[in-house]
Symmetry: C2
């Protein structure tokens, strides 16, 4: 084991017990010491890990419109009320209500009667199969390749989209972006071409038997055919068997359906600014999660870190000069209705929004923040990097901030949208699968993230932009 | 999920498929493209993950002197021979041979006859208990506190060292350093004071029932009493029960013992430098591991990454101008005999060592490198950071390099000793426990580490220091 000598690390770490002793008495505080105080609170008396344990273990998966989503709303409100924020309230919003139905079934059926059950799940928003749906399979690797196929090759078949993640990309999120059109638009395009359904390779570079769900979108007025995700092992197997037996059949059975919209809520908690209460800083994650698992990294971590960020400021005695809001957004996964409603209300109420931060890339070890804003604003934020470097959260770079806060841009023009950025290598191994569970979250990684977010809010609330 | 647009990331990432296409043809290469080629090889055709699967799953724990350690030596030699290095050879070294014996047993025995079995394991190098050892317990939180106790409070008892990790420290490795004297010297100091044994709180901030083993050292000529690690939950429990019942007893049973030294080996693989073959760059990890688990993160990852680093240079067609050696060191855990012998031979053979790199902090996501060397040399290495930034491996800072390469310093004065530095939050959750298994290692994290190490070797071999 490499060891760490106190001497070598003295310049590297913003103090331990010694620094803590120094900041105990009242008096002028430097930002560096105040941020150290935030991290002390996060690491020594943090609450987000236990909050996450409750959310994931007791409520679990909480897709929009489900009874669990309602329980999560009540839990979020209760938890922020207990934390002693100045104001906690709900924002009503109508959300889609898609239900998976009984566990899905998929089977490869060879011409010699040999049949291989494989791991599948319905894509979110998909229609069901109305009983068993059996058809041939045509494999493609892109929407473009499908376009070039003659009608006869597609009609009456399953289109099997099998383009894998590009493993050479350093950010798995970029590989997700590059492969994602197959899931989002594959079933719609397959239906348009006369296919009976779409089978989509799971969006991951992990090789295992967990199918990854996620939203698919139908075009208005176009035919709607069922869309299912295959686990990567199932996709590899189907591809291999197709090569040997191009006329094999696939049988799919899914009982999912879209029900009428349901009333739900964003949950908002506020600490009122001591000097500029009209200027608002939002920090949030999404409260809904796919039904398959517990929604731990997606996005229980973002939700509990956002609430914790406010609590850390409060508990560390750092009353912000500007108003800080933790927002638990409803319906990021299959509609973004909560994010849209939050922005609509901000505009209708003529609110002034300084900045918004979102945590929706998992609860792993911090790297820093991804920013959208003018280059002047980006420079200002990047200048805070030295304060975050002791916590390895100093990579402050241009990038996508987050889906839920994006609607704020057009509605109220905040100076910056900021995404919490953390180590991303493990996220897509479990994203939208049954494996996205509490045990995958490391307590300290989660707490360091909450500390990083609180530190940035502290700086935004003090210095504006 | 935050997404990554190709546009936003264009400046951030050193290319994906497009960049790969550019470097295919022969012609002048930039360092940036050559390093991208190394990472392509690591991520698309990497072998270290499958090598690690074999080492951990088929051979498993491989403490110095054990039959498994011998199997690991043979595996290392075979694997490097297959990889096509210029030369693969063994360096003979005598190593300690400590054996754990049957599974240890620990029990808290209350005065009202109530008994609570708790999770314990012997510390490495400890003597056994010769049957059941039952005695009272005195709790302390430091070696200093033990010093101040009157003899009567210690004599005939177990000394229970219960100082926890300081969770406020950002680097768990620093907390390990700060708490580690209890394990290393606790049993020796307890014996010196007339105690019958030492119980040491496991060196971790995780709260679970995995006891963490690790080396303890007896002083020459001083009494040797058994030293055991308690899981953190067991330590918490014992502390709580002691408060209620200070005269409770603890019963320990351990059959461990130190046997005579055994012949073993370092395994060395070389790619000979094309221009300056006499100048050597070493990269290594330790082949031995504690017997309790599979030795995955400690240090199967370092061993497989070191072999992979050479293979990556070879496979990417980047023949180094200086000689590069992968060294699988024997006996880091309880003696450092392999590291000492490697340095002794280097000196005896009048070798010129430019630099040595060690990976022994786990196989997690890269952060960068920790350096020991003159400030001029450190500046030179740090100047390469921009080339490593696309891989998040650009934190190049002063720090401890590694236990196995440290003896080189006095023996042959390399210009730099360098430790591979990766995310450290999860390492001590599993360090030296039964939980240090293959499934805790993420394929891409491991490969990114091997790529980072190979990139640094590429630069060292090209530019010297
Ligand atoms: Zn080690
Ligand atoms: Zn999400």
């Amino acid at each position: 084991m490499r060891y760490f000598s106190a001497l070598l690390l003295a310049g590297l770490l913003a103090g331990g017990p010694a620094a803590r002793a120094q900041i105990a008495p009242a008096g002028p505080k430097t930002d560096s010491l105040n941020i150290r105080r935030i991290f002390d609170e996060a690491l020594l008396r943090g609450q987000c890990y236990e909050n996450l344990r409750y959310l994931t273990g007791t409520i679990g998966g909480r897709l929009s419109g489900s009874p669990q989503a309602q329980l999560a709303v009540e839990w979020g409100q209760r938890t922020m009320e207990k934390a002693g924020f100045d104001k906690v309230y709900l924002q009503e919003v109508m959300v889609p209500h898609w239900v998976r139905g009984p566990k899905e079934r998929g089977e490869i059926i060879g011409n010699k009667g040999k049949s291989v059950p494989v791991a599948v799940c319905a894509l979110g928003n998909s229609v069901g199969t109305s009983g068993k749906l059996r058809a041939g399979v045509v494999e493609v690797h892109s929407l473009d390749e499908l376009k070039k196929l003659p009608d006869a090759a597609v009609k009456g078949k399953f289109v099997f989209f099998n383009r894998p993640f590009d493993d050479a990309l350093i950010e798995p999120g970029q590989a997700y972006g590059a492969a994602g059109d197959q899931r989002r638009s594959g079933p719609a395009e397959a239906g348009r071409r006369g296919a009976v359904g779409a089978l989509v390779r799971s969006l991951t570079s992990a090789r295992d038997d967990n199918p990854h769900t996620g939203t698919t979108q139908y075009a208005a007025g176009a035919p709607q055919v069922p869309g299912a995700a295959l686990s990567t092992l199932a996709a590899d197997r189907l591809s291999l068997l197709l090569k040997a037996d191009p006329s094999l059949k696939f049988e799919l059975e899914m009982g999912c359906q879209m029900l009428p919209d349901v009333k739900s809520y964003n949950v908002v908690g506020e600490i009122r600014g001591s000097k500029f209460p009209q200027e608002i800083i939002t920090v949030g994650g999404h409260l809904d999660s796919w039904d398959l698992a517990q929604g731990a990294h997606d996005d229980g971590t973002g939700v509990t870190q956002s609430m914790e960020a406010l609590r850390l400021l409060h508990a560390a005695g750092l009353k912000p000069e500007r108003t800080v809001r933790a927002v638990l957004f409803m319906n990021e996964e299959n509609g973004t209705r909560g994010g849209n409603e939050y922005a609509r209300l901000a505009q209708a109420n003529k609110e002034t929004h300084l900045a918004a931060i979102e945590s929706d890339g998992g609860g792993f070890t911090p790297r820093g923040f991804a920013m959208q804003g003018s280059s002047e604003v980006q420079r200002k934020i990047a200048a805070w990097a030295p304060l975050l470097r002791p916590y390895h959260a100093a990579d402050i770079m241009p990038g996508h901030a987050g889906t839920d806060i994006e609607p704020l841009e057009a509605a109220v023009h905040p100076k910056a949208l900021i995404g919490y950025d953390c180590d991303s290598q493990r996220y897509f191994d479990i994203h939208h699968t049954t494996a996205d569970t509490f045990d995958k979250v490391n307590r300290r990684e989660l707490e360091l993230g909450a500390g990083s977010m609180a530190a940035l809010i502290y700086l935004l609330a003090k210095y504006s932009l």
